[in-house]
Every structure is written in structure tokens, then in C-alpha cells.
Amino acid sequence: MNVYADNAATTAVSKTALEAMLPCFQEVYGNPSSLHSPGQRAAEKLAAARDLFARRLNASPREITFTSGGSEADNQALRSAAALGARKGKKHIISTKFEHHAILHTLSALEKEGFTVTLLDIPPEGVVTAEQVRAALRTDTCLVSVMFANNEIGTIQPIGEIGAVCREAGVLFHTDAVQAAGHLPIDVEALQIDLLSLSAHKFHGPKGVGVLYARKGIPLVNVIYGGAQERGKRAGTENVPGICGAAAAFDEACEKMAEHQAYLTPLRDKLIAGLTAIPHTVLNGDAQRRLPGNVNVCFEGIEGESLLLLLDDRGVAASSGSACTSGSLDPSHVLLALGRPHEVAHGSLRLSLCEYNTPEEIDYLLAVLPEIVSYLRNMSPVWDELETGRRPHLI
């Protein structure tokens, strides 16, 4: 059996999205900036996609900018808010320790440019509070950036409460909604969000398309310079097929959100219950306040990469926060921020489901995983020490 359980990494393009894209390759292939009819037909499609995103987010079309993806939208959002703050002499930014690297690395770059950054600690359940944000506010704070839902552990942050704190303090609020968009309801007015980033390929749209929402009156600074596309704020001929696919996918994801959530939540909970029944296994992040498809656990005594390779042999695609899979010497910064010790974080596994996964697949995962974990533990000197009492169990 083949099980794709890495939907937080990327998703399959839906039939709806693909059908929206196909006419844009050979029929409506004009450049939206061209004056002629083929160009104008493409411009109409682009406008329709923009309207769709605006309507679904409760924004206005002029507040929607298309980018090459979530990372570019994050970069542009932070740089725009920072530039606006700097003009007023405000150069302090608040964010969290478990943001995506598109945020953290942009903040590091801004620090080198003279900004001060406060990264909030992550409570053990993986949900920061509006109180933490309020306590970190300074008179020179220009921006708060808190992700809508975490990409590794799936925990949902209290965005509306943080938005209210920021609005009251007169500080811009950005949220990286890459994992949340299409999966959780987002109303930028109700949640008092000033800037928001999302990425199409996380909700069955194509790769290479992102959206930056910026409230009216927030001037964007360019990350890409060139032509006058996107009101001069994002140069480069628009990816019309991708944008049309993104809009169709977003429309469908929003339309069927409640249905997907009702379908996925019991599957997720069954998986969590089954996996945490394996001794010395812990769920990462709050059990309830998490994305409907996200499961993230640590198995003590084993290492994540070998787990992924053995899962791949059994047809299962998943991901891990181990150092070996992160490409660095340290395991996932998210798990470390959550307070997991290094040796525990190395044994993490993320399974991220979508509505294409079946109950039979969950049963299959629950059949193969205990077997693989036990096989690797039997080979592990760490497990041997844990079991013989020479090393204390940490979980």
C-alpha cells in the first residue's frame, strides 16, 4: 500500500485546480500586461483570481499581491512592515521561536540591518498567548509576526487575540498562514490581521504561487524589482496558470473546509491514540488545538531518518525533524523550542494527512509503525541503555 502522509510538505494538485490551469497554457496564454485581446483575456483571469482570494479572506482585491510562494510573501511582509517602522524610528519586531525559516532568517537579516528582534518562548503545548505578545511590546515595536498554525507540530495560535492586542497597541500584525490557509477559516477583518502570507501548494494548488495580503494603507517594499506588475510591488510576468489554479484550489478548500475537518479530525485522533500507545512515545503539541491533519510524535531511542527510510520501503511518505533530515547538526528548532531534548527530537515523525487519505491507510500506518519502531529500538544502543536503566527515560 502507498500512503502519502506528507501533506504539510506539499499536496497533490486537485482536479479542480488542474482544470482551472489547463486553459491558461495554450488558449489564454497572453501576457496580462499586453493591450491586445489575448493579453486582456489573461488579465481578466488574473483579476478573477484576485477577487476570489479577496472574497475568501474578507479583503479587497487591491490588498492581494501574488508572489512566487509563501517564502517570498513572508519576506515581503516583514520587509515592508520593517521599512514602515524604520521611517517612524520604530525598529523592534516580535515573533516566535518556532516560526518557519522564511520568517526567522528574514528576521536575522533585519537584525543585521539594525532591527531588534524578540522571539517569544514556546509553551510546552505549542501555543503562544496574546499575553506573551502584550508583555513583549515596547514603545518602538513596529511589527508582530506570529504564524497561524505551526508547520511541524500543527498547533493553532490564538490569532484573533493577538490581532486584538496588536491593533490596540497600534502595531502591525503579520501572520504566516501557509499551513492554515484552506484548512482553517480566515477572516482578516475579524481577526485584525494586517499582513498575511499563504502558499497554494499546501491546499492542492500548484507550487510556485503565493499570496500576500496587505491591509490598505500599508505600503509594500519590493523584493523583486522590474516591471509594473502587481501595482509595481512585485515585478515579473504573472504566473497566470498557477494563479488560476491557486484560486480554484482555495475556493474549493474553503467551500469544503468543514467537511474536510469533520473527516480528518477522527482519522488524526485515531492515529495519535494508536501511536502514543507505543511505549515512550509522546505527541508534540496540543492534542486539540492542532490542524485537522497533523500528527507529530517523538519515539524515544530511535533516529528519524532511518525511520523515514524504512517507512519509504513500506510505501509511506512522511517527514521528521531529526538532524539528519534537516541538513544541519541540530534537530528541528520547533521541537527544541517546545522543550524536547536533542536526543528525543532526533526521533520525531510528522504524518500530515489530507482528505485524500483513507481510513484503511490509517490502519496500515498503525500496523507498520509499531513494527518499525520496535525493529529500530532493538538495534539501538540508546534504547538498550534506556531499558536496562543505565539512561533515564526522558519521555
Binding site: E303, E305, L310, S322, A323, P341, H342, E343, D384, R391
Partner: protein
């Protein structure tokens, strides 16, 4: 996954000599759980001939850590201690048809695990050895030991 050669995947999927030797004559353990790799190697030595008659390993780590452990045990089994001590990480890498650059440290760990097991055997039997066999943590920055 194309990250690894067929040989690495074979040794990862079907590790040779995996397990423990309850009556081992030498046990070597290198690496650190915090860093994500620990190898423990057990050897059985014939004192008359100084030949490694049996070898087993336990490894906590990534695919290449398991594969290099497995390959190292194959390369030293049935060999005299003197030959086992000459096993280089490069030889392990070559026998596995190569490793990705970021995984070369696993082969270093395998080499060090063998040396640690032999050292333990020498210590237990009060056999003198030179400086070249001094303990190594398996971290290239903590000792001057040269690796290919």
C-alpha cells in the same frame, strides 16, 4: 531514496552482524545521542591468534550510520586485530560505493567504533598500545586524528 547508493541501502535494510555479544572480549562505543549517532561494537577475539572471531553492533542513527556499522563489521570479521586497526573510514566508504558528503562522519564513527572495541580488548587484557590508539570521541574537532 536516491540519497544513498544501492550498497548503502542494502546494508541499511539488511544489516549484517546486528545485535549484542553477551560474552564479548571488547566493547567500543562512540558518538553521542545528543548529536543523533551512537555506535556500539562488540568483538570476540581468539587470544592465540589475535583474530576477531565474531563481531556484532548496535547503532542509533540515520541510514548511513547503520550501513557503515554493518559494513565495518563485515570488513573486520575474521581479521587479525592489527588489520582491524588499519580499517579506515575511507575503506568503509569505498566498500559502500560512496556516501553523501554530509554523511561522511558516519564512516568516521564506524572506524572509531572498531578502534574503541580493540582498545577495550587491550585494556581488559592489559596489553600495551601506543598513542595512535588513544580514545576518540568521534567528533573531528575534539582530536587531531586524521581521516580521509
Amino acid at each position: 531514496m536516491a540519497l544513498y547508493s544501492e550498497k548503502v541501502m542494502d546494508h541499511f535494510r539488511n544489516p549484517r552482524n546486528v545485535g549484542k555479544l553477551e560474552d564479548a572480549d571488547g566493547i567500543g562505543e562512540v558518538g553521542n545521542a545528543k548529536c543523533g549517532d551512537i555506535m556500539r561494537m562488540y568483538i570476540k577475539v581468539d587470544p592465540a591468534t589475535n583474530v576477531i572471531t565474531d563481531v556484532k553492533f548496535n547503532t542509533f542513527g540515520c541510514g548511513s550510520a547503520i550501513a557503515t556499522s554493518s559494513m565495518a563489521t563485515e570488513l573486520i570479521k575474521g581479521k587479525p586485530l592489527s588489520e582491524a586497526l588499519e580499517l579506515s573510514n575511507k575503506a568503509v566508504v569505498e566498500a559502500l560505493d560512496g556516501l553523501p558528503a554530509q554523511k561522511l562522519h558516519c564512516s568516521v564513527l564506524a572506524e572509531e567504533a572498531v578502534r574503541a572495541a580493540v582498545r577495550d580488548y587491550y585494556d581488559k587484557n592489559e596489553i600495551a598500545y601506543g598513542d595512535e590508539l588513544r580514545p576518540c570521541e568521534g567528533h573531528c574537532d575534539t582530536c587531531g586524528h586524521e581521516h580521509a
